[in-house]
């Protein structure tokens, strides 16, 4: 299985007349458009006339090019490989470049907006390598998206880059998400350093704190190790100070540890340190490394096979399981985890990561398994083997 192509090239007609970037919400051609952003999602040749009579002026096609009949003034022509697009999904089209980005998928429980490509860290295993560009327009685009999301939306993720680099514009954006989506919780992936400044914590704490959380990576309690991994001086000190300030004001904080050659050797000590010094954390996530982006470039210094650190992981899990901190293990297939770790393993945060290998076919645990990343040239654990329950099949 290959991951969904959430960005790429697409042929468009007429869209460039409007602006350099066009935001589209896919809609059922039978129902009249509710917003100027709505574009009819055309699945069959018949949908053309249906959409036209419903009043649509723009459309997105996922038909075979040979089936395309009739025309719209403004249309993006995706092929049948994009039939996974659904009503309510949000697309951004850059017609001049012929590029598209899928910003929101209604079918996914794990939608996250990329707030910026800029970052003040340069993590050795970054799966989303930062770019030093002015992309401040993205926050405006997300603001437009928020008004187009279903009112019952449960979670809205924000990621980067470092979303809090422009905190004075980003925090009001999260506020808007909370206002527009009364059932939604906001979850932000951040390095947490902005919260070492009191004014940022004050602004963040003014949100509905029960519906806002931040996920912050801490890779070691040893500054030299953490700062090397994130490639930034003073990082650990500012991140820990930020967490203290956040918790002092009753905010929800998750700590994330990515497991690789530089974090695993002291993982047990790191977790013991978390348990003693930050026992008020809401959640700790121990995460398999996504073998993509910089992780590929730094493969030799980072890659660790989960079967080789299984016992270390079990010891670390035992320490955190004895605390009041909620604990999860992400992104690792069940078959490489010791039995004591498996209850903490949860399915990965992005549905396009939940892929399986051919050798998983006979496995009885596929439905519960986090699978492994497929977004890169993933190196697979040599410990992969189907879990077959004895006596099953009766």
């Amino acid at each position: 299985m290959t991951p969904l192509p959430l960005t790429g090239r697409v042929e468009t007609r007429g869209l460039s007349a409007i602006s350099t970037r066009t935001l589209l919400r896919l809609a059922n051609p039978e129902a009249p458009p509710k917003s100027v952003y709505d574009a009819a999602l055309l699945r069959t040749p018949n949908d053309y006339s249906v959409a036209l009579s419903a009043g649509y002026g723009q459309a997105v096609s996922v038909m075979n090019p040979s089936d395309v009949v009739g025309t719209f003034d403004r249309v993006a022509l995706f092929g049948p490989k994009f039939r996974w697009l659904g009503n309510g999904d949000l697309l951004a089209i850059e017609p001049a470049l012929g590029r598209y980005r899928v910003l929101w998928r209604t079918a996914s429980r794990h939608n996250a907006f990329l707030v910026t490509d800029r970052c003040d860290h340069l993590c050795l295993m970054c799966s989303q390598p930062p770019k030093d560009v002015d992309d401040s327009w993205i926050i405006d685009e997300i603001g437009d998206c928020l008004s187009l999301l279903p009112a019952h939306t449960q979670t809205v993720g924000f990621t980067g880059g470092e979303p809090f680099l422009d905190w004075q514009r980003f925090i009001p954006l999260v506020d808007k998400a909370q206002q527009m989506l009364p059932s939604a919780s906001a979850h932000v992936l951040t390095n947490g350093r902005a919260f070492s400044r009191a004014e940022v914590v004050t602004a963040w704490s003014a949100l509905d704190r029960s519906r806002a959380s931040v996920g912050i990576p801490i890779y070691s309690a040893v500054d030299a190790i953490h700062n090397h991994i994130v490639q930034s001086q003073n990082a650990l000190d500012e991140t820990v100070l930020g967490i203290l300030r956040l918790k002092d004001r009753g905010n929800r904080v998750e700590v994330r540890i990515v497991l690789h050659q530089l974090t695993v050797p002291r993982l047990v000590e790191t977790c013991a340190w978390l348990a003693r010094n930050l026992p008020f954390l809401d959640h700790v996530a121990l995460m398999g490394m996504e073998d993509t982006g910089f992780a590929l470039a730094n493969h030799n210094v980072l890659w660790a096979d989960p079967v080789d650190y299984a016992q270390t992981l079990a010891s670390a899990v035992a320490i955190l399981a004895g605390t009041r901190i909620r604990l999860s293990v992400y992104n690792l297939p069940l078959c490489v985890l010791p039995d004591s770790v498996r209850p903490f393993a949860v399915q990965s945060i992005s549905d396009w990561k939940n892929a399986h290998h051919d050798l998983c076919a006979p496995c009885d645990e596929r439905g519960q398994c986090a699978g492994f990343f497929t977004s890169g040239k993933t190196k697979l654990s040599r410990g992969l083997s189907p879990i077959v329950r004895s006596g099953a099949g009766s």
Binding site: L122, L236, D237, L244, E269, R276, N277, N298
Partner: protein, 486 residues
């Protein structure tokens, strides 16, 4: 790869770029030193490792640097987070200070039908009612107890043998229940009794008023009866059958027992512990004799040294660990208490092991004669003619006057382990406390000279023992860790 900086770029560089966080250390054995941070996270080091740590001659990759960072013993000189973390943890550990005086001890009588030679309260014989608390004093004491700040308080009935004045206990319980409702307080009741005078009526009353029972059990019958003589020589039988009857009526968890170590106990820790297992008690508190009352007069207190007691304690603890390895969950309660402090930052309100001392701020004692004392041991001293810990009299005092009295402020403020000689530089200080009554009783000074103190020797002995077992790892260490979180 030039885009990424090498690990060495992130090393702290010269030692001038680093600083020591507040730390203390203590020798544990040959070439073995325990270093502890401000809140008592401990790291075992060799002599050479300590020398390098203190000189900041440590570097990423050498193992000491990593362990010292993780234990909050060192940081960069411009770091800001770590002192904040330590301050926050210190605040958590001392959070009990926000809820002062949760324990209120009523000495409803000094009379007792036992005649234990080690009696630390100097009991009086049965015939004279002059040693019973009056109803008037009881009600005055109750008002003081209910005006203490905590929303939940514990009232403990002590003696002598409190069941000899059970009528007064009933008056206090019923008045307390009435007043508690009006003041929106929760009250827990405990009677400390030898159970010899237990009747079904008393038990049913305890059941109806949610009163727990705490009793004495010193070990197997011959040892217990030798320690605790009474007419008939049947103290053990009455205690054991009393425990069983009380459990049947009150429920298993509402009955507990305490042991006291005498010279005759020293060779028999296993038998004493096995007796507690046999009686299905959920753990044991291995307690030394205290230097008060008849225990001093009869010289029983002097009959064994601290080192002999520590040998007894270690033998007992090893036996208990063996039982735990075999599957019993059976803690030694004093070890549990210390382990909770070593391995967590839960506030520990145990009144005998606090700094500021728990006298007055942790407990108040209302004596049968109307005098109010800062601790149970304080009233024991008073029976020996030393009223150093008397804070006032029930006829003319109130809660605020007692806890802000010059005498209490002087005693508490003058004995803080955080700044007392020897204590302030002790690695175990975060897990210890001030015991002004013990040091006043043994050295005539509430601070005391710690190298001469049995209290100090016991603390260091037990803490060092627990640390050694934890450091050795394995099943025993896991047992101790379970006690800390139970």
């Amino acid at each position: 790869m030039s885009r990424f900086l090498a690990p060495g770029i992130f090393h702290p560089g010269p030692s001038s770029h680093m600083q020591l966080l507040p730390l203390r250390f203590e020798r544990l054995g040959a070439d073995r030193i325990v270093a502890a941070n401000l809140v008592g996270d401990m790291l075992l080091l060799s002599d050479e490792e300590l020398r390098r740590l203190v000189a900041l001659d440590i570097h990423p990759g050498d193992g000491i640097y990593e362990r010292a960072c993780e234990k909050l013993l060192v940081c960069r000189s411009d770091d800001r987070a770590w002192l904040q973390v330590l301050a926050m943890r210190l605040r958590s550990r001392m959070a009990y200070l926000a809820f002062p005086t949760a324990l209120h001890i009523f000495v409803v009588t000094l009379r007792c039908e036992h005649s234990c030679p080690y009696c630390q309260v100097s009991r009086r014989s049965m015939d004279t009612e002059a040693f019973d608390m009056t109803e008037g004093y009881a009600m005055a004491a109750l008002d003081i107890a209910l005006s203490a700040p905590p929303s939940t308080i514990k009232i403990e009935f002590q003696g002598g043998e409190p069941l000899l004045n059970f009528g007064l206990i009933q008056s206090i319980v019923e008045a307390a229940e009435n007043k508690a409702v009006r003041r929106d307080k929760k009250i827990e009741f405990v009677i400390a009794t030898n159970l010899a005078l237990l009747t079904d009526e008393i038990l049913f009353y305890c059941r109806d008023h949610c009163i727990s029972i705490s009793t004495s059990l010193d070990g197997p019958a011959d040892l217990h009866n030798r320690n605790r003589p009474r007419p008939g020589g049947n103290s053990h039988l009455l205690a054991v059958s009393g425990i069983e009857r009380a459990r049947a009526v009150l429920g298993h968890d509402h009955v507990s027992a305490l042991m006291t170590t005498t010279e005759a106990s020293l060779d028999r820790p296993e038998e004493i512990i096995d007796e507690y297992i046999r009686q299905d008690l959920g753990g044991i508190f291995l307690r030394p004799l205290s230097p008060y009352g008849f225990a001093v007069k009869t010289r029983w207190f002097d009959k064994y040294s601290t080192s002999r007691w520590l040998a007894f304690y270690e033998r007992g603890l090893r036996h208990i660990l063996k039982l735990n390895r075999q599957g019993h969950f059976f803690p030694e309660f004093y070890a549990s208490l210390l382990l909770k402090r070593m391995l967590t930052d839960e506030p520990s309100g145990y009144v005998d092991l606090r700094s500021p001392a728990g006298i007055g701020l942790g407990a108040l004692v209302y004596n049968y004669d109307g005098r109010v004392f800062a601790s149970d041991e304080g009233r024991m001293l008073a029976e020996m003619g030393d009223d150093a810990f008397e804070l006032g009299h029930l006829r003319d005092t109130d809660y605020a006057s007692l806890v802000t009295s010059d005498r209490l402020v002087d005693l508490v403020g003058g004995t803080l382990s955080q700044c007392a000689p020897e204590c302030s530089s002790c690695a175990y200080e975060p897990h210890c406390g001030a015991d002004p009554v013990y040091h006043h009783a043994t050295q005539g000074d509430p601070v005391g000279i710690k190298p001469l103190s049995g209290f100090c020797a016991r603390q260091k002995g037990i803490l060092g023992l627990l640390l050694t077992i934890l450091d050795a790892g394995g099943e025993d260490a896991r047992v101790l860790q379970r006690w800390a979180t139970a």
